[in-house]
């Protein structure tokens, strides 16, 4: 089992230990948080020094975000320490796959559809046992999806850890999977609920409104009456903390564990 560390800024390099054989760097949820060249260079220097490969993680993107990300990658495309790109937007994959053909392309967890609602955590398993494989599943379980990914040279998919268990069968397939823990993402939006949360003006945010990067300062606990578990709102994304990593992962085709020491925002 390969272990990777996922961080969103260079300060979190303090979490690095020798157990990790790879570093993930970037943001999955907001194009305003695409890392700067300065931060990326810092990561590259660290990875060079530690002799470990670097995976660049990208968010879902608009045309503007694609342009910005493209200009960053143009400067780094020949860098050998960056050997992998996690894409969370099919458009971004479509544009850069050929330009950056020397990198491995990994389908990110934002594009992986799983039943992650906490409703399942507080429901007795026997009540949905007959449809459990569906609630544990993901499209990559299907041969049709595996064939599509293999045809497009996407040989790894990323998944979130699920409290109801994971149903995945990658036997006989070229595709491998990685599993994120302990933070699973539940929902995300471009109308950031945290943006301007200290501001007095009460207008509903529009897509175009600016923010003051409140995601870097504030974390919200989101609870629902009757539920023992809660969600965490950080920036524009809802997460849940789940630290029980299943044991039989490799049998299912999951060959990498991605550890997030902090909420990846």
């Amino acid at each position: 089992m390969e272990h990777a560390l996922f961080i969103t800024n260079s300060k979190n390099l303090k979490y690095y230990k020798d157990d990790f054989s790879r570093i993930y760097f970037g943001n999955e949820f907001c194009e305003r948080l695409i890392p700067s060249m300065y931060e990326t260079q810092k990561m590259i220097r660290f990875c060079n020094k530690s002799k470990i490969p670097l995976t660049i993680v990208t968010p879902y993107l608009t045309d503007k975000g694609i342009k910005e990300w493209g200009s960053l990658m143009n400067k780094l495309k020949k860098n050998k320490i960056i050997d992998e790109i996690v894409f969370n937007d099919w458009g971004m994959y479509n544009l850069f796959k050929k330009k950056l053909s020397n990198k491995r392309w990994v389908k990110g967890r934002v594009l992986s559809k799983q039943y992650k609602d906490l409703v399942l955590d507080s429901t007795r398993k026997e009540t949905y046992e007959s449809i459990l494989p569906l609630f544990q599943g993901e499209m990559t379980d299907t041969k049709m999806c595996q064939d599509f990914l293999a045809e497009n040279d996407v040989l790894m998919v990323e998944l979130d850890n699920l409290s109801q268990g994971i149903h995945l069968n990658l036997k006989g397939s070229k595709i491998k999977a990685s599993l994120y823990h302990p933070f699973k993402y539940i929902s995300t939006t471009r109308l950031c609920p945290s943006a301007n949360c200290t501001s007095k003006h009460k207008r509903i945010l529009t897509i175009e409104d600016s923010c003051n990067f409140e995601c870097k300062k504030y974390t919200f606990k989101v609870e629902k009456k009757g539920r023992t578990k809660h969600m965490i709102l950080k920036g524009n994304t809802y997460f849940h903390y789940l630290n029980n990593v299943p044991k039989d992962l490799e049998k299912k085709g999951i060959t990498r564990l991605v550890f997030q020491p902090q909420i990846p925002m």
């Binding site: 458009g91 559809k113 409703v119 449809i131 300062k217 023992t228």
Partner: protein
Amino acid sequence: MKIVAPVGNLKEVEKLLNAGADELYTGMLIMKGNKLNDVNYFTSARRGKSCSLNSINELKKANKIAKEKKAKIYITLNSFVYIEKQFPKLKKLVYDILGTEVNGFIVNCPSMVKFLKDIDKKIDIKISSMATCLNSECVKLYKKMGASQIVLPRHLSYEETKNIIKNNKDTKFEMMVSNGRCRNLNGLCHLCHATAPKNTIIKKITGKKIMMKLFSLREGNYGLAHKKLSSYFENKNIMHLLNADSGSCRANFQVDFKPKDKNTKVIRKNIDNFYMPNRFRECGLCSLYYFKKMGVNLLKIVGRSFKTNLKIDNVKMLKESLNLLNQKITKEEYFNQVKKIIKRTTGLRCSIFNCYYPEIFYNSNPRI
């Protein structure tokens, strides 16, 4: 621009077409009734008797009515997750649907496009808003795979939408304009609208059909269902189970916060209000003025499981607004007239709380 309306049952087909709809979309059930404990029940994102046609015979009848009115019908195959076990029946369903000569399918990911194109390359495919096409390149990818139409997600600004359409001139674009506006990106949101376990539990506990009726309210409207259940049950254990088991979409959440910097006070504590801004009928009629300039082809009404009257109202409002656009009318005149249409049809005043595109609401003159 053409009007695309949702169909929840066969009876609605004629009514919606008579009201002015040009195209319809609906789901298809593989089995009879709401068998929530079977994976084959999950054929599309919104499933169940209240938002799908129940048999191929019904689809044939619907298609016949539509063809008489020169309208189109699309079938949704956009379930959040499909697993291998579902595909034999899903494949049969597709063949059966193709036999009825409907116009095409609505799917939400590249692998489903491949699935359909492997069956028949001529199948017309529309990409659901759940595919979250936020950029021009994503549209190009789907177009390359054989899709002919794209439903753009709600979360795009005026400029972003305009650029996507400009960069993909040979593609048809559909924009959502009525109902179902959500704060979250629906293609990337994993909150349950309704869950099978909940209904199963209720059935197990009560054994009464009446309880199922409470849940025949539109999917996701659990707040109201809870209120009704609270008055029905006195047993707290059961209430706890029901509370714990409800879907999270549009539920009321309590929000707490821990700022790193203790000197800073967070003013907006009620994130739940922002989580669900759409307590009223959401409407984007004024945006039609800009959509016409952008080159949007289709206008989508959301809500297959919504009441028929609401859908008919929506179709009529859109039709009237489109007629206004076809006249020589200034932007200000159009906005004023549209506000009157909304007030007359829904009884609601045009407000930010029921606005589909707040950007247009705030900026009466976006950068064109």
